[in-house]
């Protein structure tokens, strides 16, 4: 092994490194908890945990400097630290089985949380009593939907994630007779009527509702009680030339129409959708409070679930602490609106949801074995010791 390799192994084999990493993690979590008051829970996750370095802006300037290792960086050290320590220091033996189980569980937990961060999708469904829904909508991600509505019996949807609107590359899809060329993109912006503004910024739009509106870019918000309104200018380009530049935004609820070659398309920027191979119909919603108070006791949605393959057609009750797991998704009762006529369900898609259960069972078992061995040893020694006072 080279000197560098030996040095690395010695570095990662150190228990002092473990202690240092754990203390740094504690400080990171503590700072992140305090910062939640300002940033909200999403902002904190981006800044502290899903990052390699935590940056702080220098007061009075736009300059940001890295001041602390982020969650990813700490995990990137902890994992090799754990692995190297096991390969170099510990022998596989019954006495050490507790430590082994604990640390394997820990590795699994770290990996599992990393996977969840990458794979988990959080969506929601809002539906009124009597309504049927076949899709859920993302809280934060948006998409540009280009819908071919020419045929009366069905719509054909091409959905473009907004991240593509941020680039320079034109978007081409075999289902569309034109290209979408991104012109400008704002992750959050407010729209106003130009007629009501004293000196509006020039607009880039030449077609649709865009020419009448002014775009005011706004900073991205991470607060749970506020939403971002992604906004973009896109040009619809055909082989015969441009059909115009359109302003699309999640603030514009009505679709804008584009006609070409006798086909009609709707352009709309909306929350990203996840379509299900089944349909949910809300038949009843109940919201109980404790008598004489405003304290909520329970809320529950009664839902008819009907799968496309016709195998399932049954009634389900989703209520607090009692989600529905179906079709790779979990549906939770999250809230209500509209005088108890609308239910809000949270829909989570996380293929790795079982990982933390397994890893935590391993760690708990490991700790039990490890401390159990200590305890038995303690009582053995006591038993042998001359009579205690």
């Amino acid at each position: 092994m080279t000197d560098l390799g030996k040095g690395l192994v010695r570095f990662f084999n150190s228990l002092r490194l473990t202690v240092a990493l754990l203390i740094l993690s504690i400080l990171l979590i503590f700072a992140a908890t305090l910062d939640q008051v300002h940033l909200g829970v999403w902002g904190v996750q981006e800044k502290y945990f899903r990052s390699f370095l935590v940056f702080a802006r220098i007061r009075g300037s736009d300059l940001s400097l890295p001041i602390f290792p982020g969650g990813y960086l700490l995990a990137a050290f902890l994992l090799p630290n754990l692995l190297v320590a096991h390969f170099c220091r510990f022998r596989l033996s019954w006495r050490k089985s507790g430590i082994w189980l604990t640390h394997i569980g820990l590795i699994l937990l770290l990996v599992g949380q990393g996977l969840s961060g990458l794979l988990q999708r959080d969506n929601q469904i809002r539906m009124d009593i009597g309504q049927t829904r076949r899709y859920s909508e993302s809280f934060r991600e948006a998409e540009l939907a280009v819908i071919d509505v020419t045929r009366a019996d069905f719509d054909q949807v091409v959905a473009i994630p907004v991240s593509k609107l941020d680039g320079k590359q034109s978007i081409q899809n075999p289902l569309l007779p034109f290209q979408i060329r991104p012109v400008a993109y704002y992750p959050n912006a407010l729209l106003r009527a130009r007629s009501q503004m004293p000196s509006p910024l020039p607009t880039l739009a030449t077609a649709g509702v865009g020419p009448e509106l002014a775009v005011e870019p706004a900073p991205v918000t991470y607060r749970t009680d506020e939403s971002n309104f992604p906004t973009a200018y896109v040009e619809v380009v055909t082989t015969e030339g441009s059909l115009g530049t359109y302003l699309v935004s999640s603030m514009i609820v009505e679709p804008q129409e584009v006609t070409y070659q006798g086909r009609t398309f709707h352009l709309i920027l909306r929350a990203e959708r996840d379509y299900f191979p089944f349909a949910l119909t809300l038949t009843k919603f109940t919201h109980d409070i404790y008598p004489g108070t405003e304290i909520p006791k329970d809320f529950a949605s009664t839902i008819q679930l009907k799968s496309d393959d016709g195998r399932d057609d049954r009634e389900i009750r989703i209520f607090m602490n009692n989600p529905l797991r179906y079709g790779g998704r979990a549906f939770y009762q999250a809230g209500y609106a509209n005088n108890d006529r609308t239910t809000v369900l949270q829909v989570v898609r996380n293929p790795s949801w079982l990982v933390p259960y397994v890893s935590c069972a391993l760690i708990a078992l490991g700790l039990m074995i490890e401390f159990g061995i200590h305890l038995i040893g303690f009582f053995r020694r006591r038993g042998k010791a001359p009579s205690s006072p």
Partner: protein, 596 residues
């Protein structure tokens, strides 16, 4: 003689505990205990009038003891009867606690006008209530977290005044003190219409039960509703009207000072409830008895005694005093256990449901562990630590009880006995153990630095105890935190969400892991272990209370700033103790103990 001494102490303690379980009967000729047992519905829970009286007084004036305008101390329930039936007399009880001088100046009052300078009567406040209202409206516009002390004080006082006003018109409409004769006369009752409307809409208490026990809590009705919205003639209406009459008759007898008539009414009404709502009446009577016995206060006294005896035993006569200390702690523990069990039965809940009960449980868990430790090492160290933690947690619980009823209903997300009894109980046990390790370390430090009593043998045994408890704490806080994650996954779809309370629990797990790794790696020895265990106190108190003070997240249950200063003081004291460990070994008074 010496051997007999500890037996004698045990017998005395036993007699004292027995005496606290038999609370004195009625002071005067009125059957106040009987009234105190009557159940009503408030805040979604069925509870006795005695609880209503005590929690109202705690909330409004910060203590249960109440003085009549004449200066005589009266039973809380007697005050409540005056509020119901003699409102003009009740208005002159000095019960509104006002500390802020600027709030007093709203009313043109000075500290000289109040009882002990801080308690004032409704009469004294009456003329300037509109100004209080205006000030409170101004303050409410400000976000609760950034209000000034004055703004918080006016909002709080307005809430108390409103609460008192709503309590006043529970049984009799405003300006009417002869409901009994009105009940027989529809024309006179109709004249009360608007006052009855107000009672129906604003009454805090629903005092009129459904006819029979098969009724659910939501069928209890306020007097206003019972009189204004009689259901179609039937047994239900007859029963509720006759109960309104009982309450009105009770009032008439109370006003007339006619104890015989009063006691007859109480007896008849209690018989009616026992016959028709047996289970409710029984529980309510138990709760009233529980309030009177107040086992937690007795157990607090025993814990103090245990601590003093244990500390004394290190100076002289270790065996005898040590045994007495253990006995006192055991009795305190038994009382606290009984108290927690009764609360669980009354609430039909696992032991920990809110901050108040978490304080009870942390104390209980720590003392329980101390009893085990004391059996293993008979050196009174665990008795001292147990006494100290038991006492501190009960003091904390006492202060948390000032916000009102401690048996409140659980919000929908938390309404799950399964998760409350697994996650919450385990994680709270983890808190208790981490605190215990910290307090044992405090004993090590204080005895080592300040006294000569820490011999190597005791030091070694303390180090073993701290190490063992840290292992225990790691296990329980880890499992508890994980169970919380599983609950979160089951109820809103994410295993971990970086919520402040979750982070707090995780930090405890990580800190305990740091201690263990340092110990295994030989990075720390005895003194380092003690310093780190004391720091564990800071970590735990922050997750217990500090995270709630941030006012964000799913677990935050609203909190006052008084606790904030308490927390700061506690943290400062722990830092001071850690600084003491760093005192060079030569300066320790117990030199022998100070191995590196």
């Amino acid at each position: 003689m010496r051997k007999n001494f500890s037996t004698l102490v045990s017998l005395l303690l036993l007699a004292w505990v027995g005496a606290t379980l038999l609370p004195s009967g009625n002071q005067g000729s009125f059957d106040l205990s009987g009234v105190g047992r009557l159940p009503v519905l408030a805040d979604g829970r069925l509870k006795p009038l005695d609880t209503i009286a005590r929690t109202s007084l705690l909330m409004i004036q910060g203590r249960q003891r109440v003085e009549a305008p004449s200066g005589v101390t009266v039973e809380p329930v007697a005050w409540l009867l005056d509020v119901f039936y003699r409102p003009s007399l009740a208005d002159s009880y000095p019960i509104f606690r006002i500390d802020h001088p600027d709030v007093l100046s709203i009313f043109g009052l000075g500290t000289g006008d109040g009882t002990i300078g801080v308690r004032f009567s409704f009469v004294q406040l009456q003329s300037k209530l509109s100004e209080l209202d205006r000030q409170a409206d101004l303050a409410v516009g400000v976000d609760a977290t950034v209000r000034t002390p004055f703004q918080r004080a006016v909002v709080e006082l307005r809430d108390h005044v409103a609460y008192y006003a709503r309590l006043k018109y529970t049984v009799e409409p405003a300006g009417n003190d002869d409901l009994l004769s009105d009940l027989g006369d529809p024309a006179r009752l109709a004249a009360d219409q608007s006052a009855l409307d107000a009672m129906r809409d604003f009454s805090l208490l629903r005092v009129i039960p459904p006819a029979r026990s098969d009724g659910r809590p939501d069928q209890w009705r306020s007097v206003g509703r019972a009189l204004l919205e009689p259901e179609a003639a039937g047994p239900e209406t007859t029963a509720s009207l006759s109960r309104v009459r009982s309450y009105a008759a009770l009032g008439a007898a109370w006003r007339d000072g006619d104890s015989a008539a009063f006691n007859d009414q109480v007896k008849a009404y209690a018989a009616d409830l026992t016959a028709n709502l047996g289970a409710v009446a029984r529980k309510s009577a138990w709760e009233a008895y529980f309030n009177k016995v107040d086992p937690f206060t007795s157990s607090m006294a025993l814990y103090v005694l245990a601590f003093l005896l244990a500390a004394g035993s290190w100076l002289r006569w270790p065996e005898g005093l040590g045994r007495c200390a253990l006995r006192a702690m055991e009795f305190g523990f038994v009382l606290a256990t009984a108290g927690i069990l009764v609360r669980m039965w009354l609430e039909e809940r696992p032991p920990v449901t809110n901050l108040y009960s978490s304080a009870l449980f942390i104390g209980w868990g720590s003392v329980g562990l101390c009893l085990l430790l004391e059996r293993l090492n008979r050196n009174a160290v665990a008795s001292a630590a147990g006494g100290m933690i038991g006492f501190s947690t009960l003091i904390i619980a006492h202060h948390l009880a000032l916000s009102g009823d401690t048996m409140e209903m659980m919000r929908a997300v938390l309404d799950s006995n399964f998760w409350l009894s697994t996650h919450v109980v385990t994680v709270t046990t983890g808190y208790a153990a981490t605190f215990l390790a910290g307090f044992l370390a405090i004993i090590y430090i204080l005895r080592g630095v300040l006294t000569r009593s820490l011999d190597p043998r005791t030091a070694e045994s303390l180090a073993r105890m701290v190490y063992g408890i840290v292992c225990f704490a790691t296990f329980f806080s880890f499992v508890g935190t994980v169970l919380g994650g599983i609950w979160a996954d089951q109820s809103w779809g994410r295993f971990w969400g970086w919520d402040p309370k979750e982070n707090g629990a995780l930090i405890i797990v990580l800190w305990n892991a740091v201690i263990l790794h340092c110990r295994w790696g030989g990075i720390i020895r005895q003194r380092g272990l003690m310093a780190m265990a004391v720091f564990g106190n800071i970590v735990t108190s922050w997750s217990w209370f500090g995270t709630n003070m941030l006012g964000i997240g799913l677990h935050s249950y609203g909190f006052t700033s008084a606790a904030f200063y308490g927390l700061i003081t506690f943290v400062a004291s722990q830092l001071l103790l850690i600084a003491l460990v760093l005192v060079p070994r030569e300066r320790w008074r117990s030199r022998a103990a100070a191995t590196p």
